[in-house]
Symmetry: C2
Subunit: 192 residues, 2 copies
Amino acid sequence: MKYMTNFTTLSEEQQQEISEGILIEEYKKGTHLIRQGDDPTIKCYFVLQGCVRQYTIDESGKEVTANFYTEEQAILTFTFQDLSQSSKYALTCLEDSIMVVGDFDTEKEMYNQYSELETMTRQMMEIYLGQAQNEFTAFISSTPEERYKSIMSKRPDLVTRVPQHQLASYLGITPESLSRIKKRMNQDKRRV
Amino acid sequence: MKYMTNFTTLSEEQQQEISEGILIEEYKKGTHLIRQGDDPTIKCYFVLQGCVRQYTIDESGKEVTANFYTEEQAILTFTFQDLSQSSKYALTCLEDSIMVVGDFDTEKEMYNQYSELETMTRQMMEIYLGQAQNEFTAFISSTPEERYKSIMSKRPDLVTRVPQHQLASYLGITPESLSRIKKRMNQDKRRV
DNA sequence: GTGCGGCATTGACTTAAGTTAAGAATGGCA
DNA sequence: TGCCATTCTTAACTTAAGTCAATGCCGCAC
């Protein structure tokens, strides 16, 4: 897979071998890959097509969207480390989706077989961690309106693909506020 | 080091060997470990004693605190991946501090020597990533006041160790707001 | 086709954060 | 010790987000 090539020094043949061990699955819209509180089915995904939402219901009963995953994004949620031994997040498909599915047991075997693969995973996680850091910092320092504008420019497809109230919960605001922000922005545009 | 034991299957002797290769440094309060825009000096730290602040100046000139690191915390900031080739964050000591300093070149050598070390690093990063995820989600769904209460309970030392305006910038609010939140909380307490 | 339920928008009202500015407290340093 | 700079608090005002409630709008099932 072309995605892999950027990260690794593995040979063509080795990449071929790994690719053959890979499992690709299709899921219908509305499918729960994992539910909150489930035993952690130690799995990870890579979205080839579709859209997956990661969310949690917090103590006060509010639903919080932690992320949306779309094409070419990996879903790595290491939530099971929590002593609780149950998943903190739920994953559901917002659309019919096609994904690469990996489970951590075969992953470990593969690490033994191809040590470069572990290096590659580590590097990917470093990048991930850096991105998470940057996103967090950006979130801290911005207002809801700025966050909406930011997502409009970085992931414009989300704004149309995803229900507004879920997008709002990802931006940390209420659906009403999101609605008003959009209204304000339209008015400003017209005025200019 | 006792911290390591929790993560690895390395033998005592091996841990001993690794520990000997480790560099420990002391820094005075106010020292910049790295400045924003510096060439990324590919280093990582582990705080034995003291307090380090990670921050960035954003486009609008506002200072944003991304994190505070205190005893027993590792500083892993993978910001250099940004094409920019310069560090997005600055790290400064808020107190006199003692830290383990690692640079990535010797780290790589050690990975070759002890492959378990890479596994250990990967596992630590998984946990890190999970924590970052959780912190982000918690941040999204909480008000400034809730965030302050949360930090009071999770890292009460920070509230006293760290300048208030820097704490405010970590909570995503202005110093004035933080001041008001504290005032409100005192009044509420007295009333009860 | 009709009706129902969930979703998006709008309005009125409350509340708290941002802004600006001023004063009080603190701490470092000569 | 005393001065200066920084930091923290307070106040008055503006603005936007939360809350509650009502309406309108699909989409889906029956």
